[in-house]
Symmetry: C2
Subunit: 675 residues, 2 copies
């Protein structure tokens, strides 16, 4: 039996690869066929496996728990976040099976978090960095409900998180009316007659189904259990939204066939995305090329779904080939390489930097890739274009053409921007385009913001202001760094950073749950260890030998929500540089309501003592500093920028004035209040 | 206008009283009428108010937000837990209205918590201590979902928590299709077509309705808004379960009538409990009295609902008047005064201490008051009685007679144990009963457990074991203390403590969500400040001038979940003694599965540094110690026991062996595994 396991796991292991690597392999083989239901790469591996080991040897039986983890490893999940509980520990035991190893020798790693909400945020961060699935495992009721807001955030921002909930087996084992009337711990008794009628075992699944998940499977039949695991993973890729698996404790030791693992050695994002009808995709592509040919000053906007569907590289390719200018949105920030001379800034309607607005409003054609419309990302629904512009919205589920002159629209539902971008990039016309951008179209720099010099203070001993930070922090970033920001005042300034090449910026820009970023940064750190340099596509732009930093910008109020996960960073030796903006409470709320109310105050903490308390007893893994003046900040930033080896945690408490906010935030609030 | 507010608030203030005080008032007036829909006490106050101020002056208009807080203050909510957010701050502003003060001069206090789950747990603790409503206020989506597991715990354990969620007003203001299609921050976009179709504003309400709440009102009509506020409060009392109010931001400044506040100056637990049909209540009471008359060795079991429906005093009265022996359950622990010679121990079926089982199994009649049947509380559904016993289950919604000899049952649905206990206590027959208990029926002492002396170590320098703790901790408690324990190994030993008079024991005994107790202890501490000595009914048994302690028993794994709320204890100067059982991880899980697995490990912390980091910078508000030997423990316990003034936080980290568990837990796990 063990022998057979090994064969299988090796087969699976071959494809435990990133989407990026998959794409490379794919294009080398030159076998793209849109009409196939089984992708060529899958077919090829099955063939290889059958050839090597013979079809009959392959249909082994393994415990279902092992199936779950082999499947996860096969789709690129190398670390799992969570908290153990009575109903999931039998499942967790299967993580330690010796056969669970991929070709690179990697095993699954368990990253135990302090609580479930933090674990969900960490899984979210893992996925946002890697574009693989982030997995969180919790226990029935007490655990899963703790995590639910993390899943809702992933749903709201289209992040690929799989939540596995270990559940009791009373119902599925059909133990008869007596046992089924038992109220079990972690479960909810009925409102009425609970001493006579048993609980609704599916109550938690019902809470999330069609609400915070694109796919929910409450496993109740071992025969179909493996298919359902695969189904949830496929749905997660298809929608780029979270999915749930409710796994009965009694299933995990039962034997199931490895058939699925052999027939589909992996499941990839690309194969799960709904294919566009070939004819329509062609029509749409030609229409766009025609519009480009007619345009004098076209623009690309790089928006959220471009990242989620793994098209970062492709979009930058398109921009470079077509020599077209690019803008980002709030949630699309950092998708377009901001070191490019073609990058024009972040556009957010009337709240944008005036120079950026001016440029976008001079574009007669706007190709908005991966468009996500919401209050924050779409300028509070005030997102104007040039009065005679033509706009193309490119989305995973539709392509919409809109003519600002005629006010006419044309929608192609079921056509995915994934295929369109592929087809555009294949078009030889692309490099023959030429546009007539006027002199306004200069590469974006933060100087365009005209930040008030008074904000920076008069000398080096001056206080640090949000103005100081807007000026200083971008310079501290190096190409390839990964920047995570929590929801808060300074988040609104980052939009207008001009980021070095291939910096990946991660933030919860729409769901805006404070406290998310700290555990998410743990997830990002783990993902960067599992997938080193995964976000870098042009290594030549990264300084030779440079190890990209993980940087967290965190507010004090936000940090108090989820602070204990610092200890998990210490435990897993995640190298990170943390800037704690200490502005004495919920400043982002103060500017909306109750500036001096106690409800916006928080308890002052001695932040620099936390790392010692949380496990770095001898200070070997961390360094904590308080920064109060401009010169202290500048010195620390210089020291960190040029440090060549990342190790442990650098924690900087940065003192800010209570009511100091970046002007971008003030503008946005004014716009919301006005509406 | 201001004048009228004052009149009203004074009227409301009169009844911002505890249920206990209400009952006293009630019986003095001798005006009990079961058929009245308006209770006599309410009627009386309206009359007084009208007489004093004239009916016409009373129908003032106040902002709806103020109505909400006046209503809360009128039902005894003096402190509110929560976290501010964009959608609830306009509501919170009304907390600071000058007219919001009760007759004692008390205003509402906002207790800002570090995160929403902790706030929900704190509100739960507030209610468990005071038996008033615990109130938590959060914001749409990001806040409320964070809190949801706390609400589920309150639902599972029948705790009166009101969750107010501040929501957006787009839907209720009917802003037209364009605005309603906007995706707002904190909300969930649709799975499909989210760029065209707006969010489902009620998605979060749907998640909790009929699941974790007995009553959910999503306010969408200002006309009925006040009625619905009252309705949710009434339902919370009726079911002793949580309720939800979704309050649109745009409602809170709109004017509403104070009519409800005048007609019902308060809403009390008693008036909301469903009344039993008078005839059936009489039949049931007579039947019980007949059974008592026929019994030689009857027993009372004091169970959970007895506490939740405010019948602690009444049940002890009954026991004392009838001179009948009493047992507790796991969730009913401390309802029966354990200093009474009539207290026989905690019964939990076959996992009980053998001497306790022996006594219960010798009882020919068992009156089980406030019965709650679940896996934990009902001996894993193995809860035997004497083979020829008669059993009476007394519940808020039914009374059930069961004859163990004939196996026949008789159920009176809709008859409440509240009325039955009242009627029994009014019966003159009670004091004429006489029983023939044999010599076994001795008052319970912990010696009956026959704790293994070897567990205690050989000398004072020995390690502290769970055996040591079982022997030492009960002695450290004083009459009237309030003990809170988190879910964990030592929780299972507390069942068998013999508690001093009127100690109130609070734990989440069934939902068992680790981390709950630490924030709950904050809630208890605040409630004890709002309601000093509320749990004490016989002050003569409390040492003269003694200020009861709040004590928290907390596991290390549990503490890591919610630890930041220590800072809120510092902020609000909650006096508390905290014992942190440091056994290096999730010991309660290790004994079930994976004793040495990494998933059961946690990051070691320097626990004694936390209070400094969390705000007690100069150590003025707290003292932290590590206890490793028996003598260190004993010395600390003596020091704390006789300290006469409670001030600040005493934090004791108690080192325990990783796999040391109390024998009660081992028994229970064995029973569950067997079943």
């Amino acid at each position: 039996m063990r022998e057979t396991f090994h064969i299988k796991s090796r087969v699976c292991g071959i494809l435990s690869c990133s989407v990026f690597r998959f794409i490379t392999y794919h294009s080398e083989e030159q076998t793209i066929k849109f009409t196939d239901t089984m992708t060529p790469v899958t077919h090829d591996l099955v063939h290889t496996a059958q050839h090597l080991y013979g079809a009959n040897n392959l249909a082994a039986q393994i415990p279902f728990g092992l199936y779950v983890f082999k499947r996860l490893l096969s789709v690129g999940v190398k670390s799992i976040f969570g908290v153990p509980g009575d109903y999931n520990m039998r499942l967790l035991e299967h993580m330690y099976d010796e056969s669970l190893v991929d070709t690179a020798g990697d095993k699954l790693e368990w990253v135990g978090c302090c609580n479930e909400l933090n674990a969900a945020y960490a899984a979210d961060g893992y996925s946002r960095y890697s574009n693989e699935i982030g997995c969180v495992i919790t226990t029935y009721g007490v655990g899963e409900l703790g995590a639910i807001s993390g899943l809702a955030g992933a749903f709201a921002e289209s992040v690929k998180v799989l939540h596995i909930v270990g559940i009791v087996d009373y119902e599925v084992n059909d133990l008869g009316p007596e046992m089924r009337s038992h109220n079990l711990h972690h479960l909810l008794p009925r409102l009425n007659d609970s001493n006579f009628v048993g609980p609704d075992y599916r109550v938690y699944a019902e809470m999330v189904k069609d609400k915070v998940a694109c796919s929910v499977e409450y496993l109740d039949d071992l025969e179909t259990a493996c298919d359902k695991v695969d189904k949830v993973i496929e749905d997660i890729y298809k929608y780029s939204k979270p999915g749930y698996l409710f796994v009965p404790r009694s299933f995990v030791d039962e034997l199931v066939s490895t058939k699925n693992l052999i027939e589909k050695p992996t499941i990839t994002l690309r194969e799960c995305i709904e294919k566009s009808p070939v004819d329509e995709a062609k029509i749409v592509t030609e229409k766009i090329l025609r519009l480009l040919n007619q345009s004098a000053s076209p623009a690309v906007i790089g928006d959220m779904f471009t990242d989620r569907y793994g098209l970062r590289v492709e979009l930058n390719d398109f921009i470079n080939k077509a020599n077209i200018v690019g803008f980002s949105t709030v949630q699309g920030k950092s998708i377009i390489d901001e070191s490019s001379p073609l990058y024009m800034g972040a556009y957010n309607g009337m709240t944008s930097a005036p120079t950026v607005s001016e440029k976008l409003l001079a574009c007669d054609l706007v190709l908005h890739f991966g468009i996500e419309k919401n209050e924050v990302n779409y300028g509070n629904y005030n997102f104007p274009h040039k009065s005679d512009a033509k706009i193309v919205e490119l989305h995973p589920q539709y392509i919409r053409f809109y003519d600002n002159t005629t006010k006419k629209e044309e929608i192609y539902k079921g056509v995915s921007f994934v295929d369109i971008l592929d087809l555009l990039n294949q078009s030889p016309e692309l490099s023959e385009l030429s546009f007539q951008y006027n002199s306004k179209f200069k590469a974006y720099t933060i100087e365009e913001l005209n930040l008030d010099e008074r904000d920076f203070g008069n000398d080096e001993t001056s206080d640090i202001t949000q103005g100081t930070l807007q000026k200083s922090m971008p310079n501290y970033l190096n190409p390839g760094d990964v920047l995570i920001s929590d929801t808060g005042t300074f988040q609104f300034a980052i939009r207008d950073f001009s980021l070095p090449s291939q910096v990946k910026y991660i933030t919860q820009g729409f769901y805006l749950s404070i406290g998310m970023a700290l555990p998410a940064a743990l997830g990002v750190g783990i993902a960067m260890r599992d997938y080193p340099m995964h976000h870098v596509w042009d290594v030549e732009k990264i300084p030779f030998g440079y190890e990209p930093k993980v940087i967290l910008f965190e507010g004090d109020g936000a940090a108090q929500m989820t602070v204990q996960e610092l200890s998990t960073m210490i435990r897993h030796q995640v190298p990170i540089e943390i800037f704690l903006w200490n502005n004495n409470g919920y400043t982002i709320e103060r500017v909306i309501e109750g500036p001096t109310r106690p409800y916006n105050d928080i308890q002052p903490w001695k932040w620099t003592k936390l790392l010692e308390a949380f496990g770095d007893f001898d200070g070997k893994h961390s360094r904590a500093t308080v920064l109060e003046t401009r010169s202290q900040l500048e010195n620390k930033l210089s020291e960190l920028k040029y440090k060549d080896h990342r190790r442990g945690i650098d924690f900087m408490e940065v003192k800010l004035a209570t009511m100091d906010v970046p002007s971008q935030l003030q503008k946005m609030i004014d716009a919301i209040v006005k509406n």
